[in-house]
Symmetry: D2
Subunit: 322 residues, 4 copies
């Protein structure tokens, strides 16, 4: 009994209009549903109803990260397991989150707000946006950066290793690669259930307390699309935090920036897939770690290891950097 | 006394709304001026007021191709030379073509409708589209294919060699490379005044009579942009005539398709620049010519050497292919 | 009990020196072992000892296609299942194929020569080629096209549908998308166990009899790498059969050519991954199929649906095309 | 009377074997001639005998930068003009620099070591490297980064503006864009005679004295080629100083690193061409300059405005950075 794959993220945002406009017009996601206080979005080849929910709030935070399970009967099994583990949980009944069936919500030991669900409504493009290609759930967008699909999330946590073990043991998310400090401390771990290099990452926060969403990532088709993205962002007034650069760990090319309500977004492309059923996590030590974070000798900005979005309902993580 | 560089094309179109919409929304050009019966467009880094004029008509044809001269005093010199050559010509007075000063219009020996001009108005972006970057005459567009700049034109003619000589001798447009048939006949010639591989090409028509515009070309930044363009076109219902392929002659990657009023458009990228002041035209013979037309072993479709846009006011070139 | 992922292909080749040289110097694979009559090769990020074996022979054919299973104990279970199905099989004992443990070899109902195995030796780069990056089993090659990894195989068969069902039901390889003719006949099916769009494809042969290997495919990182590949091939005398083009089915960009002993090779890049645990195969009908095969309106050459490499030990498939 | 275009650079190097090996095997240039103490190299589509000369020395320095003139008769005219200006000069007689005719060598007011020449020998590929394509002076290389062509040079100087004026007025090299500090001081100027955005740049040094070669640049075909270059360099032990990034000024994507004898090399791609005969230099002021240097919000490393290669025969420029 494992999760099947990561499915979506819900973010609370202080400026819903600005954030929804940014994701639609600049990032080039498609709005699949708009309510007064929520916007549901997806990339053009995301097959499901949504991969991002933006919810109006007086605070920007991460509300939950949804994972699809492998079979409908896994949901009650997971519920029993949470009971065994004495982990508080609650059901989000079908329809509470439009486009989705029942969702089982809980927090991991490090406080990551997860949801497990089985049923999901496929995205149905309105006639004007429908493609004649069965492989295109909608026509390829003419506007914005237009990534292909939702890819992964990354959280800052205080203790990486126990949280990685919990995700691997309880949810079946394979450990793919990790970074150790000179004294053997775990600085980061990257995990995936599928063949992508990671669907969720954990990095040790440099300052502040608690867990927070470091970023969510959408996949673009090529480095050139990333370059186009960077130039569009620069020419439309969005500051780029870091990139384009290449994560030596995954081999993917990345770009980080902040959306209007303050959440960090990554666009990335390329890199490796992992197929071996007996994959042993790759170890990056103090010598190789700098190239693991960035292969081309650029260094992460100060904000990179400290700034994150708090988990909804948690106190903000005090941090020396903004 | 030579031309300085190619500047713009005026096309008459049978469906102005469809053509202007296509160039704006799909190709991603910017409309710099719209009149009831004319649309003026340019690519995002075209510095001048326009590089394409679409004029409503009951027939799709090429109206004129404009070339900028090197100095204001060249215009009267060219006029005298046309008089010497007994070539009919007429002045388009400043303002007749908005954004431009006086234009001297005439037809070459093969009937190509050219215009020479000096004065041109720079494009001034409206505030909402202005970029904070001095190198960007407008912000990089969020919509459509969005090529960087206008690049070149290509004409089908009955006799390539005399027309090439005329363009080289009278206008100073350098001969860059050519294709010969097995019997030494000239099948095509490519010419430029600037360092790009060609600003104007001449190809021998396979059937039909007279001269016609084969295509006009805009430059995109990368093969990946061309791939994005091809997919956007395919998913929005435009048939691609040929490409992506690579012209072995220039090394540029190409894509050909027809806009709604029937003119062939090329997007292209990459390839060589030519710097030598004593450049000797490269000769492609019957053996190498197929790779010259397409390096990766695809072959031009039947339409490629026969279909073209007639010159305004000329009888349509009868042709066995549509 | 299913396979885990496709692992490697063994081809018999009539000119081992030419084929091994081509795959090493032009394609840019790395030779991990060379014997008098065999060469073992892999792409730079293939983690296993080899993904391609070339074996000297008086006939170019496909010898076997290896699939890794999920657990060591799956091998005897598969053997029992083959017994139940009365499918002849034999063991290739550990070391018979260097770098690999026991292999269970058999033919599918359509005659595809498969092998199942668990144990595999990781590639160990010689010191001179070792990378300081844990994510690089060797340094990124300076020479040749240098794809990232082995990707998939494609077979021509007489009857697609029953073979697809057998692969799905007996080996657990998911059906991802298929093409139907106007009369409902199955023209092709694409299947994968992993999240890539397909690891094995079946296409109905247009003429000839029996099954044959249509191509094996390696993955390159970008369309630009594919363009570089096409130009390297063209400039080093290899004819390109088809491409670059985009398979509308997968969204991947492709290039096909023949190696010196006559096997078709594909390089491809991009396209979609499939994550849904309840994925329903996409159906391409007679209307959409042309765009499914090639999205940008090029058409497959005549050779594409008839030429293939025979299965070792089978009579050559007579075919009207070379 | 103007120069025609930049042609080549001669560098003295402390480790000829290491530098020549690096440029051949990693950068992927072709050696057109090798002497005991000199190596002559060029990119694959450089038409001339060489674009880079490496000369063994006990000091790494820039020996000269060669510019081709427009006509043979320009050389004596330039000599007379140097006499008028009382600028010392000397003739390098034909053959002194293999592959080239007479060269007129002198130093500009800021001490830049230039050479003017007319005659140049085209590169003649040995049979094994010859291409069947008339547009390819040699086959596209299978090895290394393999840029397409030599592009430009950049010098650190103490006073930008007077040197820019001298180059424009005496050599006819157009001023394309410049950067000013808040107090109106000139921080950099970029100039070209051809349509590329610049063939020579001048930047004000932050510390140290005198002029020095900041870098020489080769052009690659795409951002993806640059990414491949960066990864090859990283995986073969070369530290990247800065990039990939985009110069907002030109729109080109760049990568900087140092070759084994310590000269800075740039690979770059894309960006704008300039066609207007009445181009007015673009002004980047203190507000826009950071984006002019790097559009995606990365900042130049400390070494960038101080480290340079001394001019041969000049005292090294003392500088606080290595």
């Amino acid at each position: 009994m494992t999760v099947a794959h990561i499915g979506h993220v819900e973010l609370s945002v202080t400026d819903l209009e600005a954030s929804a406009g940014f994701f639609e017009e600049i990032v080039g996601l498609t709005v699949s549903r708009r309510e007064a206080d929520r916007a549901f979005l997806r990339a053009w080849q995301d097959w499901d109803h949504h991969t991002l929910v933006l919810t109006r709030s007086d605070r920007s935070a991460v509300e939950h990260v949804g994972w699809r399970v492998e079979r409908p009967e896994d949901l009650p099994h997971f519920q029993r397991r949470l009971d065994e583990l004495a982990i508080e949980h609650r059901w989000m009944r079908a329809g509470g989150e439009p486009g989705q069936g029942d969702g089982l919500r809980f927090r991991t030991p490090a406080g990551l707000p997860l949801e497990l669900y089985w049923e999901v409504q496929p995205y149905a493009a309105p006639a004007a946006a429908a493609s004649r290609l069965p492989s295109h759930p909608q026509r390829t967008p003419r506007t914005g950066i237009a990534p292909r699909r939702f890819d992964h999330v990354n959280f800052l946590v205080e203790q990486v290793e126990p949280e990685q073990r919990w995700l691997s043991e309880e949810l079946g998310i394979h450990h793919r690669y990790y970074v150790e400090s000179a004294d053997g401390g775990r600085l980061g771990s990257w995990l995936s259930r599928t063949n992508v290099s990671h669907e969720i990452a954990l990095m040790r926060r440099r300052d502040g307390v608690g867990s927070g969403l470091h970023h969510l990532a959408y996949y673009v088709d090529s480095t050139d699309q990333l370059v186009r993205a960077a130039t569009l962002l620069a020419d439309h007034g969005t500051t780029i935090e870091w990139g384009p650069g290449m994560h030596g760990t995954s081999g993917a090319v990345f770009l980080y920036f902040f959306e209007p309500s303050g959440h960090r977004v990554e666009l990335w492309t390329g890199g490796m897939l992992i197929f071996a059923p007996d994959w042993r996590p790759l170890r990056w030590d103090a010598d190789s770690a700098p190239l693991g974070f960035e292969l081309w000798d650029s260094r992460a900005p100060d904000t990179y290891f400290s700034r994150s979005s708090p988990v909804l309902g948690e106190a903000a993580a005090p941090s020396r950097t903004p």
